[in-house]
């Protein structure tokens, strides 16, 4: 078992100085840093195993194809799912758009409803708005309790037989709420609705068992789990993927092509048109192996410890407002400091080498619900330390002083 110090040594960027101070990277919900194991896997693949996949019959085409399909199995294993249902996409955003288009256009009908929550990232909101307008479906929103958890009583009332799709975040990227997705899937299936879970903030941080959750679709991104940008996963239940139309069309995704028509490849390849993100798939698989070696249970416990510490310290600080549930939560705290604009806070923290996010975090409707324009968010990962959480508090205090609020 590695210590946090040893984990930190795996991440070259963590020894960086920013503005003369050691980097304190607390913007992991936006994107995570990469360990040397992931960088090396990428380099080694490019140095000795690279070619296009599923095309040639030469040696490198075989090794590359083997590695690419092995990567798919690694990702399936991470979330305990059938590899035939694992589609490589560009990321969570593309995964959700794929479902909205390829499933939604075919199966969601005029007069049916799509049930979402007000805490969704724009990526799990706008694709459904567009689809609803195109097919004449209704949009419904699962109400929130005051603390930013889902109101399970009111939500249940909205979940009637007209609901065709429930789209919900596993973990909110602003509130940190961990939604009871297994229970939601059960409720939805009882009325015949399908469920898409946006796992962008969950899969990197906690054990995810899709055979237990039972979601029809589950989406996440490589860059938030120590992998590269440009790759993500859509898991779809194979029998549903079989029935769906392709998303994009072209090479790789076909079986046979004539001048005037074509037939589709088997799943998951039917949804991977063109040369896929091959090197990125090697990177996300190396990241998944790295995380599994450390242990998803350990990562979740470590994140939880840091998040609880941050919540406690900030809650005790005068002028700080925290958002979301106080108890069990995802690996982030979102807050405001009275009289300090979040962008000023983030810029002032940056002077001390501390990186946090400020803004609406791609969740404008949620910020309207919270009654604020913008918030500050500190988000944690396996390489963060309690001392870095303390540095955040010191930075918040220093910012208040600079703007002369204390």
């Amino acid at each position: 078992m590695k210590t946090v110090e040893e984990i930190r040594r795996d991440f070259p960027i963590l020894s960086l100085k920013v503005n003369g101070r050691p980097l304190v990277y607390l913007d992991n919900a936006a994107s995570s840093q990469k360990p040397i194991q992931v960088l090396n896997a990428y380099c080694r693949f490019c140095e000795s195993r690279y070619a296009n996949v599923h095309r040639g019959v030469h040696t490198l085409a075989e090794t590359a194809t083997g590695d690419y399909e092995e990567a798919r199995k690694t990702l399936a294993d991470l979330v305990q799912a059938d590899a035939r249902g694992v589609v490589f996409t560009r990321g969570t955003t593309e995964s959700i758009n794929l479902v909205a288009q390829s499933y939604g256009r075919k199966f969601i009908k005029h007069g049916q409803a799509i049930l979402m929550t007000p805490m969704e990232h724009h990526a799990n909101l706008v694709p459904w708005q567009v689809l609803a307008r195109a097919v004449g479906a209704e949009l419904r929103f699962w109400p929130l309790n005051q603390d930013g958890t889902l109101d399970m009583v009111e939500g249940r009332k909205l979940l009637d037989a007209r609901v065709a799709m429930v789209a919900v975040a596993h973990v909110s990227n602003v509130l940190g709420t961990i939604n009871p997705v297994r229970e939601i899937v059960e409720m939805a299936h009882r009325v015949g609705a399908k469920v898409l879970v946006d796992g962008a903030q969950a899969a990197p941080h906690m054990p995810v068992n899709l055979s237990e959750i039972g979601a029809d679709f589950y989406a996440f991104s490589g860059h938030k789990m120590c992998g590269s940008t440009g790759i993500g996963v859509l898991y779809g239940r194979p029998e549903i993927l079989e029935d769906m139309d392709p998303f994009m069309t072209g090479g790789e995704m076909i079986r046979e092509v004539w001048l005037d028509h074509a037939t589709w490849n088997e799943i998951p390849h039917k949804f991977e048109a063109g040369t896929p993100p091959i090197t990125e798939a090697i990177s996300i698989a190396a990241a998944a192996r790295y995380l599994q070696e450390i242990g998803m249970d350990w990562i979740h416990a470590h994140d939880t410890m840091l998040t609880a510490r941050a919540w406690e310290l900030l809650a005790a600080e005068p002028g700080v407002t925290l958002y979301g549930p106080a108890g069990e939560r995802g690996a982030l705290v979102t807050f405001n400091v009275a009289g300090v604009h979040p962008h000023d806070l983030a810029a002032l923290l940056d002077r001390d080498g501390i990186a946090i996010r400020a803004g609406h975090h791609c969740a404008q409707p949620l910020h309207r619900w919270l009654g604020v324009q913008a918030t500050a968010r500190a988000s944690f990962y396996l390489y963060n330390t309690p001392e870095e959480v303390d540095a955040l508090l010191e930075g918040v205090r220093a910012a208040k002083k600079v703007l002369q609020l204390v």
Binding site: N19, H341, P342, H343, D344, A347, L348, D350, R351, A358, G359, H360, Q364, H367, Q373, A374, V402, L403, Q404
Partner: protein, 140 residues
């Protein structure tokens, strides 16, 4: 990062000049910062070609508030033509981080470092973009 949060900027943030609304503005314009959704309103009162009075209101970050405060201080009493010249000067200053030759920027010089912070440029230019719209509307 060069330190944008200097004393002059912070002074304009803590004690903004010409903050509030005008009772009888000739026209009012609103600006929105796409980065954070901050909104700012400029009230302008003209006496012929001269800007007799100007106030700003709204909530914002230190940079947008200070920039608005400096703008009102620099331009109150100026003519429409002078204001148009100032808009051009400010845009060039924000882009390059240098004042054009022979121009005295006064407190606005505190925004010197902004050219190196591409994300925050929008905060500094928010009141100036609103002003530009106001002038073009006033000109008709």
């Amino acid at each position: 990062m060069s330190d944008i949060y200097g004393e002059i900027l912070l002074d304009h943030y803590r004690l903004p000049r010409n903050k509030g609304r005008l009772e009888h503005p000739t026209l009012s314009v609103e600006g929105v910062n796409p980065l954070c959704g901050d909104e700012l309103t400029l009230d302008l009162e003209f006496d012929g070609q001269r800007l007799k009075d100007i106030r700003f209101s709204g909530k914002g970050c230190a940079i947008s508030v200070a920039s608005a405060s400096m703008l009102t201080e620099a331009l109150k009493g100026k003519t429409v033509e002078e204001i148009e010249r100032w808009i051009g000067v400010f845009r060039e200053f924000i882009r390059t981080g240098r004042a054009p030759d022979g121009v005295e920027l006064g407190d606005l010089l505190a925004l010197e470092g902004i050219s190196k912070l591409p994300v925050r440029v929008k905060c500094a230019t928010l009141p100036w973009s609103a002003l530009e719209e106001a002038i073009s509307r006033y000109r008709g």
